[in-house]
Amino acid sequence: MNEAAARPLAPWRIGVDVGGTFTDMVLRDQGGDLWVFKAPSVPADPSQGVLAVLQRAVDSFAMPLSDLLADCALFFHGSTVATNTILEKKGAKVGLLTTTGFRDSLEVRRGIRENQWDHRAPFPQVLVPRYLRQPVGGRLDKDGVELAALTLSDVVAATDIFAEDGVETIAVALLNSYGNPAHEEAVAAHLGQSGAHPWISLSSRVAPIMGEYERTSTAVVNAYIAPKVVGYLRDLDSHLHSHGLTRPILLLQSNGGAVSVEQVAERPVNLVLSGPAAGVGALGLYSRAAGSDNLIAMEIGGTSCDVMLMGEGQVEVTDELIIDGYHLATPSVEIHTVGAGGGTIARVDEAGLLHVGPQGAGAVPGPACYGLGGAEPTVTDAYMVLGRLRPGPYAGGSVTLDDELARRAIMDKIATPLGIGVEEAAAGIIRLLEQNLLHAVEHISIQRGHNPQRFTLVAAGGAGPMHGAAVARALGCRRAYVPRQAGAFCALGMLHTDIRQDYLQVHFDNLDTVDGNILEKGFEPLAVRAAAALTAEGFTGAQAIMHRELDLRYRGQLWSIRVALPGGVFDPAAVRLAFDADHQRQYGHTQPGGTIEITALRVTGRGLIETAEPVAAAPATGLPEPTAIRQVYADSESGWRETPVYAGSDLRPGFAQDGPLLVEELTTTVFVGPKDRLTVDEADNFMIEIDGAGN
């Protein structure tokens, strides 16, 4: 870490992650040093948060913005603009063209209920009303063979209706177009000729999967967000360019890879997980630092906890994503989110049982101790009562914490109704929160057939380092890894992200009898598109990697497993072995000699960004002094303990000390219990050894 006043060594990389409350920026210079800046997010115009956080860096380095941008080799950006457009229902007016007889698929939603017991809850509002879902004659069969020709006059009639109603963008989703896009392309060509509609989303281009509901839903959401999202990103890109940035900004996609604005303009729906998906890059970095490629990250913010699993160096990418109740079939890293964070509310129900979450207090009014009118006790209030946070200004003075307000909220709402003491109540809130976190980690691991004990837990996010050790202990893990920049986990992760684009073609065949040349003919157009995309980003030769996969299943199954083709070579025997092995791990059994069906071909194009390895920081010299010593409640067994508090910047690689102790870092506070031991590793991050005290 560098002192704030020092100037970075050019060239550098910048990652900017726009979160719900804060916009984070991490700058990594040529020497491997890191700087972190934060500015409040401006949800109405996220670019203001981006410019504000850049201004913080400009002020800190005493360097003009033009220099900051001109010497920036790679500018990564994670933006909530796609997600917020959906959450706030501020997208475009969409018209949908569907096959005659099937225009209601979007609204039937396959009848999927998120919580079946809560049957009084309505479905999310349908994004295209029925009167703007217009039928088009023509039909393809399951193999893409034309049964009835496309009725172009229906398209003409529909566009008249759309024009009359002020439709801004059009989505096209015809039956069986995943196997043959000809009808959709013909519609697009016709719409293109008329020139009235600059934004057209074809389901066969946006999400060429089998299954009309999910494909239609994805095309519609794409159409819904496109004008706003692409418009915003182009503006930001050209603004930064005009101020000196030479290379186009790189956007984080849901698949955990990056892409430039123009390359994602046709599929902005791929940006929905922009931000959290950058955890993939962060896990890649920490797997090298922690010396393990089996990691589970628990990123805990104010309202929620995102859990992500890396097994043998891979984070699973699926075609399933649900955002605010809308189903998207876009390549997305698997993230399990639960309502457990610093602002999570505790309550006692009318029959006398304590609950923690899933509701949160949000940024306003926030926890009771913020003094902004919040009366509900939160996890942060429990930290205060237990001495884990000190009263007074935090986060550069943006909030001032009042421990009396925290104590009163927990006393009135929890301790008194349960008939217990206020400290017992606060400790109970933490225990319940940590149980919820444990269950979330078990969910993502056990459900996929992984044993969580074989993983290192990475505790990230502003609130993660408070709970890393407790959750790791409950899981039976030996250690918890705490990044020093825990509160800027995603912004940092972006700096270690490759360019990535995924392409898919549904293809049905028998693994044992298929002609390899037919597969090759199927892969070829996907590979051509991937190569073109990478070339456009400036990646060719050894920097452009093509990765081929097959989706496979035993005959009769409804779900598939992806199996990689090493070197792109199709070897049916090797594929069968790999499939059986993965099936055994995920499902606990195989069908020896069973018929294996191919269901899809996939090509992933990856543009390799130069690896930025962790740089060894200067080792510790002598034992640093704590900045304070105060009473902190550890757990029910140890009770209140005199606990030293260290400034994070004083702890250097090689530092090692038994708990209890607290570390106050710029973006987080690390808690180490009395049985555990904290060390600072060579990469300048924290490692908590569970039950390591006294060793």
Binding site: D104, G111, H119, D141, G211, E442, G588
Partner: protein, 577 residues
Amino acid sequence: MNTQENLDPIVLALVQNRLDHISHQMGWVMTRTARSPIFSQSHDFSCFIADPDGTLVSQADGIPIHTGGGGFAVRALLRDFDGDIHDGDVFVLNDPYTAGGNHLPDWVIARPVFAGGNLVAFACNRAHQSDIGGGAAGTYNSEAREIFHEGIRLPVMKLIEKGETRQDIWRLLMINTRTAEALDGDLRAMIGSTRIGADRIAALVEELGMAQYRDYFEGILEHADRSFRRCVSSIPDGDYRAEEAIDNDCFEPIDDAIRVRLGVKGEALEVDFTGTAPQVQGFKNSSVANTWSAVYMALASYFDPDLPRNEGTFRTVTITAPEGTIINALPPAAMTMNTVFVAHEIVHAIWKTLNQAVPERSCAGWAKAVHGTTSGRTGEASPFVMYHWNSAPGGGGVEGRDGFNQIGHLIALGGLVLPNVETYERLYPVLFKRQEFRTDAAGPGAYRGGTGCNFEVQVSVDAEYAFRGEGLYTPSCFGAAGGRAGEVGDMELTFADGGNEQAPKYAVRRYGPLTLRAASPGGGGWGDPRQRDPERVLRDIRDGVVSRQAGEDVYGVAVSADGKSIDEAATANLRAG
């Protein structure tokens, strides 16, 4: 009675969450390891935990019509194997008459959990098997008149004895199914899920201590009891009566009903089925376990979606279910259909009594499905069995929400997911022509019912059709709070020679290639349709699910000539009238 006073309230909350989490974990293992797609697609199973007396302490995982009924199976086990239950034993059962089963296809695997040498709990999994013998492939024999036509009956049996699988029993099970490979895999998945559950329960009990763990289990049941008593005490004291028609016995029309009296006195609730139709010759008779689950589902869904799912919730409820009736049949009545029909009717009957008692929470009826199955061969080794799920009917409205336009069975509260037609065209020899909302079929209301749909599919091979169209031709739902029932369902078959016929309500028939057209029924509406927000009526008219005429006649809303805005003056006139 209040155990909770001696308990640490924090630990109690932790134990409640942990038990529910363990039942979910068992469910993940089941979904991940089972062979049959039904488990990962439709989640047609449930995992549950009972205390050593057979009282259900958690059933957080599973479909609503399984909820609350698991204790019967464990109590049957305790009755039959008193003193002969050992660590490493695993039991199997399915019989609804002797073993606490709900219907034959749902098999229960029950594993006793030991800690410190003591029996401390049971970890259980109830799951619908792919085939159990009987008169029809796929467990549903529409022509069954006795339980003997429906498949193999299993009393409570030890399948694994102190860790050793009883091979004789295993072989017995495998020769009584048409799909031995699937049954073998699915049983192993069930057994595996209970093993994980048992390990986790034992660890929890050891953490709590042998002296204390029962108090915590009891504390959880008492919390559930208090929670539901609060719901009951919100119902005004009195007797509320309702009936739900039973108009066929799966073979012939009949004119009878489920009759229920809901007696409320303070915090006590009585559900009395005296006067209900006698058992019928077809396969929709209910067992005790299934009736209890249906009652549980009706009550829990009416009140709080977060009610704890354990038997404590039922302590204040008394059920009177006269023997020999359709809701508590005597052997050898057939009963495979009961988890759908007559469970649907039981839920409807109870909702109708509650609608009188607590009108502000009233629920309109969900229309019943019209579809059955088509089965045949396409050159594969085994025949296909296709359910016409895409003809699903409309759900009922509640205050603040219209009925779902198309939704799976009421007894799953939408937990059964409808397939994509593209998937079915790949799996079966069919071509879909239509799946579109109906016009003017939704039950009118301030919050209208679901529209139901117009459904059309061509089947290109000779096939057998098992019809079970409870939603055909006669009303199958009801309105609430002044709302009205939706339109009835209809089904017609058109053959290659151009001839056509109306589909029977119940029957098994063979046909050549044909086109099947159905109009599935609309759901019930909630509240006076003339109170419906005119903007919602306008939207329905623009959407084509309500006609202009019905807008005026039924809803009292007139729209402008271009159909895009409300004619305020004409509407005021209509609504004044």
